[in-house]
Protein backbone atom coordinates (compact mmCIF):
# COMPACT_ATOMS: atom_id res chain seq x y z
CA UNK A 1 0.00 0.00 0.00
CA UNK A 2 1.14 3.51 -0.83
CA UNK A 3 0.06 6.62 0.98
CA UNK A 4 0.93 10.25 0.26
CA UNK A 5 0.23 12.70 3.08
CA UNK A 6 0.08 16.48 2.58
CA UNK A 7 2.63 16.53 -0.22
CA UNK A 8 3.69 19.93 -1.58
CA UNK A 9 6.34 20.57 -4.18
CA UNK A 10 7.77 23.67 -5.86
CA UNK A 11 10.37 23.87 -8.61
CA UNK A 12 13.04 26.28 -7.48
CA UNK A 13 15.94 28.21 -8.94
CA UNK A 14 18.91 29.22 -6.79
CA UNK A 15 20.03 32.42 -8.51
CA UNK A 16 17.77 34.38 -8.34
CA UNK A 17 15.81 32.38 -5.79
CA UNK A 18 12.40 31.67 -7.29
CA UNK A 19 9.67 29.19 -6.43
CA UNK A 20 7.03 27.75 -8.69
CA UNK A 21 4.52 25.74 -6.67
CA UNK A 22 3.20 22.77 -8.62
CA UNK A 23 1.68 20.47 -5.99
CA UNK A 24 -0.02 21.86 -2.92
CA UNK A 25 -0.96 19.78 0.11
CA UNK A 26 -1.93 16.67 -1.82
CA UNK A 27 -2.98 13.48 -0.03
CA UNK A 28 -3.67 10.21 -1.82
CA UNK A 29 -3.94 6.55 -0.93
CA UNK A 30 -3.33 3.59 -3.24
CA UNK A 31 -3.99 -0.06 -2.55
CA UNK A 32 -3.27 -2.96 -4.90
CA UNK A 33 -4.93 -2.50 -8.27
CA UNK A 34 -5.11 -0.18 -11.25
CA UNK A 35 -5.42 3.54 -10.57
CA UNK A 36 -5.65 6.48 -12.87
CA UNK A 37 -4.87 10.13 -12.22
CA UNK A 38 -6.57 12.26 -14.83
CA UNK A 39 -5.65 15.92 -14.98
CA UNK A 40 -4.95 18.56 -17.57
CA UNK A 41 -1.45 19.45 -18.78
CA UNK A 42 0.60 21.36 -16.23
CA UNK A 43 -1.27 19.99 -13.22
CA UNK A 44 1.86 18.20 -11.99
CA UNK A 45 1.23 14.56 -12.91
CA UNK A 46 4.84 13.91 -13.95
CA UNK A 47 6.05 15.78 -10.86
CA UNK A 48 3.85 13.64 -8.63
CA UNK A 49 5.09 10.37 -10.13
CA UNK A 50 8.69 11.58 -9.86
CA UNK A 51 8.13 12.34 -6.17
CA UNK A 52 6.75 8.83 -5.63
CA UNK A 53 9.72 7.35 -7.49
CA UNK A 54 12.16 9.45 -5.44
CA UNK A 55 13.47 11.60 -8.29
CA UNK A 56 12.14 14.69 -6.53
CA UNK A 57 11.97 15.50 -2.83
CA UNK A 58 8.84 17.33 -1.70
CA UNK A 59 8.91 20.58 0.29
CA UNK A 60 6.73 18.94 2.92
CA UNK A 61 4.58 15.89 3.49
CA UNK A 62 5.31 12.23 3.85
CA UNK A 63 5.18 9.01 1.86
CA UNK A 64 4.19 5.79 3.57
CA UNK A 65 5.00 2.51 1.82
CA UNK A 66 3.40 -0.66 3.15
CA UNK A 67 2.81 1.07 6.48
CA UNK A 68 6.37 2.31 6.88
CA UNK A 69 7.16 6.02 6.82
CA UNK A 70 9.98 6.74 4.36
CA UNK A 71 12.97 8.98 4.78
CA UNK A 72 13.75 11.06 1.70
CA UNK A 73 17.49 10.87 2.37
CA UNK A 74 17.40 7.09 1.95
CA UNK A 75 14.30 6.80 -0.14
CA UNK A 76 13.52 3.24 -1.30
CA UNK A 77 13.32 4.03 -5.02
CA UNK A 78 13.72 0.37 -5.88
CA UNK A 79 10.10 -0.32 -4.89
CA UNK A 80 9.02 1.55 -8.01
CA UNK A 81 9.24 1.33 -11.77
CA UNK A 82 8.61 4.59 -13.58
CA UNK A 83 7.69 5.07 -17.22
CA UNK A 84 7.56 8.58 -18.54
CA UNK A 85 7.05 9.99 -21.98
CA UNK A 86 8.43 13.35 -20.92
CA UNK A 87 12.00 12.22 -20.34
CA UNK A 88 14.29 9.58 -21.75
CA UNK A 89 14.75 6.28 -19.99
CA UNK A 90 17.21 4.72 -22.42
CA UNK A 91 20.53 5.71 -23.99
CA UNK A 92 19.80 6.49 -27.66
CA UNK A 93 23.28 5.30 -28.73
CA UNK A 94 22.79 1.81 -27.26
CA UNK A 95 20.63 -0.99 -28.61
CA UNK A 96 17.40 -1.85 -26.84
CA UNK A 97 18.86 -5.04 -25.39
CA UNK A 98 22.00 -3.25 -24.18
CA UNK A 99 19.83 -0.67 -22.41
CA UNK A 100 17.64 -3.33 -20.87
CA UNK A 101 20.65 -5.33 -19.65
CA UNK A 102 22.28 -2.21 -18.19
CA UNK A 103 19.26 -1.01 -16.24
CA UNK A 104 18.24 -4.50 -15.08
CA UNK A 105 21.77 -5.02 -13.75
CA UNK A 106 21.64 -1.71 -11.90
CA UNK A 107 18.31 -2.73 -10.40
CA UNK A 108 19.71 -6.13 -9.32
CA UNK A 109 17.23 -7.91 -11.59
CA UNK A 110 18.42 -11.16 -13.16
CA UNK A 111 18.83 -10.93 -16.95
CA UNK A 112 16.52 -13.65 -18.19
CA UNK A 113 16.80 -13.72 -21.99
CA UNK A 114 13.88 -16.14 -22.29
CA UNK A 115 11.67 -13.70 -20.42
CA UNK A 116 12.96 -10.76 -22.50
CA UNK A 117 12.12 -12.63 -25.72
CA UNK A 118 8.72 -13.62 -24.42
CA UNK A 119 7.77 -10.02 -23.52
CA UNK A 120 9.29 -8.58 -26.68
CA UNK A 121 7.11 -10.92 -28.76
CA UNK A 122 4.08 -9.93 -26.71
CA UNK A 123 4.80 -6.25 -27.39
CA UNK A 124 5.76 -6.83 -31.02
CA UNK A 125 9.31 -5.51 -30.72
CA UNK A 126 11.25 -8.77 -31.04
CA UNK A 127 12.95 -7.51 -34.20
CA UNK A 128 14.04 -4.26 -32.56
CA UNK A 129 16.01 -5.66 -29.63
CA UNK A 130 19.32 -5.34 -31.44
CA UNK A 131 18.56 -1.96 -32.99
CA UNK A 132 19.90 1.27 -31.55
CA UNK A 133 17.22 3.06 -29.55
CA UNK A 134 17.62 6.23 -31.62
CA UNK A 135 16.62 4.29 -34.75
CA UNK A 136 13.24 3.35 -33.28
CA UNK A 137 9.93 5.17 -33.46
CA UNK A 138 8.58 6.86 -30.31
CA UNK A 139 5.99 4.09 -29.97
CA UNK A 140 8.59 1.34 -30.20
CA UNK A 141 10.78 3.07 -27.60
CA UNK A 142 7.77 3.28 -25.29
CA UNK A 143 7.18 -0.45 -25.77
CA UNK A 144 10.87 -1.19 -25.07
CA UNK A 145 10.72 0.76 -21.81
CA UNK A 146 7.51 -1.05 -20.86
CA UNK A 147 9.29 -4.32 -21.60
CA UNK A 148 12.00 -3.38 -19.10
CA UNK A 149 9.36 -2.44 -16.53
CA UNK A 150 7.48 -5.73 -16.99
CA UNK A 151 10.69 -7.69 -16.44
CA UNK A 152 11.60 -5.64 -13.35
CA UNK A 153 8.34 -6.91 -11.89
CA UNK A 154 8.21 -4.36 -9.07
CA UNK A 155 5.33 -3.92 -6.66
CA UNK A 156 4.57 -0.34 -7.70
CA UNK A 157 4.39 0.64 -11.36
CA UNK A 158 4.10 4.32 -12.22
CA UNK A 159 3.09 5.10 -15.80
CA UNK A 160 3.13 8.67 -17.05
CA UNK A 161 1.12 9.08 -20.29
CA UNK A 162 2.05 5.54 -21.29
CA UNK A 163 -0.39 5.01 -24.15
CA UNK A 164 -0.06 8.20 -26.19
CA UNK A 165 2.29 6.76 -28.83
CA UNK A 166 1.24 3.13 -28.85
CA UNK A 167 -0.79 1.52 -31.65
CA UNK A 168 -4.26 0.15 -30.86
CA UNK A 169 -3.38 -3.53 -31.26
CA UNK A 170 -0.49 -3.31 -28.81
CA UNK A 171 -2.56 -1.09 -26.53
CA UNK A 172 -5.08 -3.88 -25.97
CA UNK A 173 -2.30 -6.36 -25.19
CA UNK A 174 -0.62 -3.97 -22.75
CA UNK A 175 -3.90 -3.13 -21.02
CA UNK A 176 -4.74 -6.83 -20.69
CA UNK A 177 -1.34 -7.53 -19.17
CA UNK A 178 -1.59 -4.59 -16.76
CA UNK A 179 -5.06 -5.77 -15.69
CA UNK A 180 -3.66 -9.26 -15.09
CA UNK A 181 -0.74 -8.13 -12.91
CA UNK A 182 -2.76 -5.48 -11.06
CA UNK A 183 -4.12 -8.16 -8.71
CA UNK A 184 -0.72 -8.26 -7.03
CA UNK A 185 0.60 -4.76 -7.71
CA UNK A 186 -0.23 -1.08 -7.45
CA UNK A 187 -0.29 0.48 -10.91
CA UNK A 188 -0.79 4.22 -11.24
CA UNK A 189 -1.46 5.66 -14.68
CA UNK A 190 -1.24 9.42 -15.09
CA UNK A 191 -2.92 10.80 -18.18
CA UNK A 192 -4.59 13.91 -19.51
CA UNK A 193 -7.00 11.91 -21.69
CA UNK A 194 -9.98 10.38 -19.92
CA UNK A 195 -10.75 7.92 -22.73
CA UNK A 196 -7.33 6.26 -22.36
CA UNK A 197 -8.37 4.56 -19.14
CA UNK A 198 -12.12 4.35 -19.80
CA UNK A 199 -13.43 0.82 -19.22
CA UNK A 200 -9.96 -0.26 -18.23
CA UNK A 201 -9.53 1.31 -14.83
CA UNK A 202 -12.32 0.82 -12.30
CA UNK A 203 -14.33 4.06 -11.87
CA UNK A 204 -13.71 4.15 -8.11
CA UNK A 205 -9.96 4.13 -8.78
CA UNK A 206 -10.03 7.14 -11.08
CA UNK A 207 -8.72 10.30 -9.44
CA UNK A 208 -9.80 13.23 -11.50
CA UNK A 209 -8.73 16.88 -11.21
Amino acid sequence: MLELKNISFSYKTIIPFKKNKVIDNLSLKFDKGLYSIIAQNGWGKTTLLKIIKGFLIPDCGEIIINGAKTKFKNYPSDYFSLFSNSFKNFYPQLTVIENIKLFLTLEDVKIDLKKINQFSKMLGIENYLNKKTQELSTGSIAKAILLKIFIEDKNFILLDEPFSNIDEKSLEIIKDYLTKISMKKTIIIATSKRNETKGFVNEKNIISY
Binding site: K12, F55, K88, N89, Y91, E98, T105, K132
Partner: protein, 258 residues
Protein backbone atom coordinates in the same frame (compact mmCIF):
# COMPACT_ATOMS: atom_id res chain seq x y z
CA UNK B 1 31.43 -5.05 -9.54
CA UNK B 2 29.00 -6.26 -12.21
CA UNK B 3 27.18 -2.92 -12.05
CA UNK B 4 30.42 -0.98 -12.48
CA UNK B 5 31.41 -3.17 -15.44
CA UNK B 6 28.07 -2.61 -17.13
CA UNK B 7 28.34 1.16 -16.63
CA UNK B 8 31.91 1.20 -18.00
CA UNK B 9 30.77 -0.91 -20.96
CA UNK B 10 27.99 1.60 -21.55
CA UNK B 11 30.55 4.43 -21.71
CA UNK B 12 32.64 2.49 -24.23
CA UNK B 13 29.62 1.69 -26.39
CA UNK B 14 28.64 5.37 -26.45
CA UNK B 15 32.22 6.36 -27.30
CA UNK B 16 32.37 3.79 -30.11
CA UNK B 17 29.00 4.98 -31.40
CA UNK B 18 30.68 8.28 -32.35
CA UNK B 19 33.19 6.60 -34.65
CA UNK B 20 35.79 9.39 -34.78
CA UNK B 21 35.51 10.41 -31.14
CA UNK B 22 38.45 8.31 -29.86
CA UNK B 23 40.58 9.22 -32.90
CA UNK B 24 39.95 12.92 -32.36
CA UNK B 25 41.00 12.57 -28.71
CA UNK B 26 44.25 10.90 -29.77
CA UNK B 27 44.97 13.31 -32.62
CA UNK B 28 44.25 16.43 -30.59
CA UNK B 29 46.87 15.29 -28.04
CA UNK B 30 49.25 14.36 -30.86
CA UNK B 31 48.99 17.77 -32.51
CA UNK B 32 49.28 19.63 -29.22
CA UNK B 33 52.48 17.69 -28.57
CA UNK B 34 53.70 18.46 -32.08
CA UNK B 35 53.27 22.18 -31.40
CA UNK B 36 55.51 21.85 -28.33
CA UNK B 37 57.96 19.73 -30.30
CA UNK B 38 58.33 22.59 -32.77
CA UNK B 39 58.56 25.19 -29.99
CA UNK B 40 61.32 23.13 -28.41
CA UNK B 41 63.17 22.93 -31.74
CA UNK B 42 62.92 26.68 -32.24
CA UNK B 43 63.60 28.01 -28.73
CA UNK B 44 65.75 25.18 -27.40
CA UNK B 45 68.69 27.24 -26.12
CA UNK B 46 66.45 29.81 -24.44
CA UNK B 47 64.15 27.40 -22.64
CA UNK B 48 66.46 24.60 -21.60
CA UNK B 49 68.33 26.35 -18.75
CA UNK B 50 65.17 26.22 -16.59
CA UNK B 51 64.79 22.47 -16.94
CA UNK B 52 66.70 19.30 -16.16
CA UNK B 53 65.55 17.78 -19.47
CA UNK B 54 64.79 19.39 -22.83
CA UNK B 55 61.52 21.26 -23.13
CA UNK B 56 59.73 18.68 -25.28
CA UNK B 57 60.63 15.86 -22.88
CA UNK B 58 59.29 18.02 -20.04
CA UNK B 59 56.04 18.77 -21.88
CA UNK B 60 55.57 15.16 -22.95
CA UNK B 61 55.62 13.72 -19.43
CA UNK B 62 53.64 16.55 -17.86
CA UNK B 63 51.06 16.50 -20.63
CA UNK B 64 50.56 12.74 -20.30
CA UNK B 65 49.76 13.24 -16.62
CA UNK B 66 47.71 16.38 -17.24
CA UNK B 67 45.55 14.30 -19.59
CA UNK B 68 44.18 12.40 -16.57
CA UNK B 69 42.46 15.58 -15.49
CA UNK B 70 42.08 17.68 -18.63
CA UNK B 71 40.09 15.12 -20.63
CA UNK B 72 37.26 15.85 -18.12
CA UNK B 73 35.69 12.45 -18.74
CA UNK B 74 33.88 12.51 -15.40
CA UNK B 75 32.32 15.96 -15.77
CA UNK B 76 31.55 15.39 -19.46
CA UNK B 77 29.84 12.06 -18.81
CA UNK B 78 27.70 13.56 -16.06
CA UNK B 79 26.81 16.55 -18.25
CA UNK B 80 25.94 14.20 -21.10
CA UNK B 81 23.72 12.07 -18.82
CA UNK B 82 21.94 15.20 -17.63
CA UNK B 83 21.48 16.35 -21.24
CA UNK B 84 20.10 12.96 -22.24
CA UNK B 85 17.74 13.13 -19.24
CA UNK B 86 18.95 9.77 -17.95
CA UNK B 87 20.80 11.20 -14.99
CA UNK B 88 17.87 10.70 -12.58
CA UNK B 89 17.94 6.98 -13.30
CA UNK B 90 21.64 6.71 -12.52
CA UNK B 91 21.90 8.55 -9.23
CA UNK B 92 19.38 6.63 -7.19
CA UNK B 93 20.66 6.13 -3.63
CA UNK B 94 21.20 2.46 -4.31
CA UNK B 95 23.71 2.83 -7.12
CA UNK B 96 25.18 6.32 -7.00
CA UNK B 97 28.51 4.92 -5.70
CA UNK B 98 28.71 2.45 -8.61
CA UNK B 99 28.00 5.28 -11.02
CA UNK B 100 30.86 7.41 -9.67
CA UNK B 101 33.34 4.52 -9.54
CA UNK B 102 32.47 3.57 -13.11
CA UNK B 103 33.32 7.12 -14.22
CA UNK B 104 36.62 7.11 -12.31
CA UNK B 105 37.68 3.76 -13.79
CA UNK B 106 36.51 4.68 -17.30
CA UNK B 107 38.42 7.96 -17.19
CA UNK B 108 41.51 6.07 -15.98
CA UNK B 109 41.28 3.50 -18.78
CA UNK B 110 40.94 6.18 -21.49
CA UNK B 111 43.87 8.26 -20.21
CA UNK B 112 46.09 5.23 -19.58
CA UNK B 113 45.42 3.85 -23.07
CA UNK B 114 46.40 7.21 -24.49
CA UNK B 115 49.53 7.36 -22.30
CA UNK B 116 50.80 3.95 -23.43
CA UNK B 117 49.97 4.63 -27.09
CA UNK B 118 52.07 7.79 -26.92
CA UNK B 119 54.86 5.99 -25.09
CA UNK B 120 54.96 3.38 -27.87
CA UNK B 121 54.81 6.14 -30.49
CA UNK B 122 57.66 8.05 -28.85
CA UNK B 123 59.73 4.88 -28.49
CA UNK B 124 59.19 3.86 -32.12
CA UNK B 125 59.99 7.29 -33.51
CA UNK B 126 62.91 7.73 -31.12
CA UNK B 127 62.01 11.35 -30.40
CA UNK B 128 62.49 10.95 -26.66
CA UNK B 129 65.05 9.27 -24.45
CA UNK B 130 63.10 7.68 -21.64
CA UNK B 131 64.47 5.96 -18.60
CA UNK B 132 61.14 4.95 -17.15
CA UNK B 133 60.54 3.09 -13.93
CA UNK B 134 57.28 1.38 -14.95
CA UNK B 135 56.28 0.28 -11.42
CA UNK B 136 56.59 3.89 -10.25
CA UNK B 137 54.72 5.07 -13.33
CA UNK B 138 51.78 2.74 -12.69
CA UNK B 139 51.62 3.77 -9.03
CA UNK B 140 51.80 7.42 -10.04
CA UNK B 141 48.98 7.22 -12.56
CA UNK B 142 46.72 5.32 -10.16
CA UNK B 143 47.27 7.75 -7.30
CA UNK B 144 47.12 10.78 -9.58
CA UNK B 145 43.94 9.54 -11.18
CA UNK B 146 42.29 9.07 -7.77
CA UNK B 147 43.29 12.50 -6.52
CA UNK B 148 42.24 14.21 -9.78
CA UNK B 149 38.96 12.27 -9.71
CA UNK B 150 38.21 13.72 -6.29
CA UNK B 151 38.50 17.22 -7.75
CA UNK B 152 36.49 16.25 -10.85
CA UNK B 153 33.66 14.85 -8.73
CA UNK B 154 33.64 17.98 -6.56
CA UNK B 155 33.44 20.03 -9.78
CA UNK B 156 30.68 17.77 -11.10
CA UNK B 157 28.71 18.38 -7.89
CA UNK B 158 28.57 22.04 -8.85
CA UNK B 159 27.51 21.06 -12.38
CA UNK B 160 24.60 19.09 -10.88
CA UNK B 161 23.46 22.23 -9.07
CA UNK B 162 24.43 25.10 -11.35
CA UNK B 163 24.44 23.31 -14.73
CA UNK B 164 26.22 25.37 -17.40
CA UNK B 165 26.74 28.20 -14.95
CA UNK B 166 29.31 26.09 -13.12
CA UNK B 167 32.26 28.44 -12.72
CA UNK B 168 34.20 25.93 -10.56
CA UNK B 169 34.89 23.71 -13.57
CA UNK B 170 36.33 26.66 -15.49
CA UNK B 171 38.40 27.85 -12.52
CA UNK B 172 39.83 24.41 -11.86
CA UNK B 173 41.00 23.93 -15.43
CA UNK B 174 42.56 27.41 -15.49
CA UNK B 175 44.31 26.91 -12.15
CA UNK B 176 45.56 23.45 -13.08
CA UNK B 177 46.93 24.49 -16.45
CA UNK B 178 48.59 27.65 -15.13
CA UNK B 179 49.84 26.78 -11.66
CA UNK B 180 50.72 23.09 -11.82
CA UNK B 181 53.67 23.33 -14.20
CA UNK B 182 52.17 21.59 -17.21
CA UNK B 183 53.57 24.01 -19.77
CA UNK B 184 56.40 25.55 -17.75
CA UNK B 185 58.09 24.70 -14.44
CA UNK B 186 56.44 26.18 -11.34
CA UNK B 187 59.73 27.92 -10.53
CA UNK B 188 58.88 30.38 -13.33
CA UNK B 189 55.70 31.50 -11.53
CA UNK B 190 56.11 34.68 -9.44
CA UNK B 191 56.90 33.97 -5.78
CA UNK B 192 53.67 35.38 -4.36
CA UNK B 193 51.58 33.06 -6.57
CA UNK B 194 53.55 29.89 -5.88
CA UNK B 195 51.56 28.80 -2.80
CA UNK B 196 48.65 28.08 -5.17
CA UNK B 197 50.80 25.44 -6.89
CA UNK B 198 51.28 23.68 -3.58
CA UNK B 199 47.59 23.07 -2.97
CA UNK B 200 46.83 21.33 -6.25
CA UNK B 201 47.66 17.63 -6.73
CA UNK B 202 48.60 18.15 -10.38
CA UNK B 203 51.79 19.98 -9.35
CA UNK B 204 53.04 16.94 -7.40
CA UNK B 205 52.03 14.53 -10.17
CA UNK B 206 53.93 16.48 -12.77
CA UNK B 207 57.04 16.78 -10.61
CA UNK B 208 56.93 13.05 -9.88
CA UNK B 209 56.40 12.28 -13.58
CA UNK B 210 59.66 14.06 -14.46
CA UNK B 211 61.59 11.80 -12.11
CA UNK B 212 59.80 8.64 -13.21
CA UNK B 213 60.03 9.24 -16.97
CA UNK B 214 63.64 10.28 -17.14
CA UNK B 215 65.48 9.22 -13.95
CA UNK B 216 64.15 5.67 -13.31
CA UNK B 217 63.40 6.50 -9.67
CA UNK B 218 61.61 4.08 -7.32
CA UNK B 219 58.27 5.36 -6.05
CA UNK B 220 59.38 5.14 -2.39
CA UNK B 221 62.04 7.72 -3.20
CA UNK B 222 59.58 10.20 -4.62
CA UNK B 223 58.28 12.62 -2.01
CA UNK B 224 55.56 13.90 -4.37
CA UNK B 225 53.82 10.51 -4.43
CA UNK B 226 53.41 10.70 -0.63
CA UNK B 227 51.84 14.13 -1.06
CA UNK B 228 49.47 12.75 -3.70
CA UNK B 229 48.27 10.03 -1.33
CA UNK B 230 47.06 12.81 0.99
CA UNK B 231 44.96 14.23 -1.85
CA UNK B 232 43.38 10.79 -2.40
CA UNK B 233 41.65 11.18 0.97
CA UNK B 234 39.50 13.84 -0.67
CA UNK B 235 37.82 11.10 -2.70
CA UNK B 236 35.32 10.06 0.02
CA UNK B 237 34.68 13.77 0.65
CA UNK B 238 33.94 14.24 -3.05
CA UNK B 239 31.47 11.33 -2.99
CA UNK B 240 29.67 12.90 -0.02
CA UNK B 241 29.56 16.29 -1.73
CA UNK B 242 28.20 14.76 -4.93
CA UNK B 243 25.45 12.94 -3.00
CA UNK B 244 24.59 16.19 -1.21
CA UNK B 245 24.40 18.01 -4.57
CA UNK B 246 22.06 15.32 -5.93
CA UNK B 247 19.90 15.60 -2.80
CA UNK B 248 19.66 19.40 -3.10
CA UNK B 249 18.97 19.09 -6.82
CA UNK B 250 16.09 16.68 -6.10
CA UNK B 251 14.68 19.31 -3.73
CA UNK B 252 15.08 22.05 -6.33
CA UNK B 253 13.60 19.83 -9.02
CA UNK B 254 16.40 20.41 -11.51
CA UNK B 255 18.16 17.04 -11.55
CA UNK B 256 17.42 16.40 -15.21
CA UNK B 257 17.59 20.01 -16.34
CA UNK B 258 20.59 21.57 -18.03
Amino acid sequence: MKKILYLIRKNFLIEIHYKFSIFSLFFSTLFTLLIFFMIDKYFKSKISPFLSVDYFSYIFSSFMIFNYSSNQTITNSITSDINMQIFENLVENKFINYYLWSLIIYSFIISTTELFLFLIFAKLTGILNFNINYTSLIILIIISSLSFSALSIITASFTVLFKRGNIISFLLSVIESFFSGVYFPVEVIPNFLRPISKIIPMTYSIKASQKIFYSNIKFCDILEIKMLIIFCFFLPVSFLLFKKAVYISKKLGNLNQY
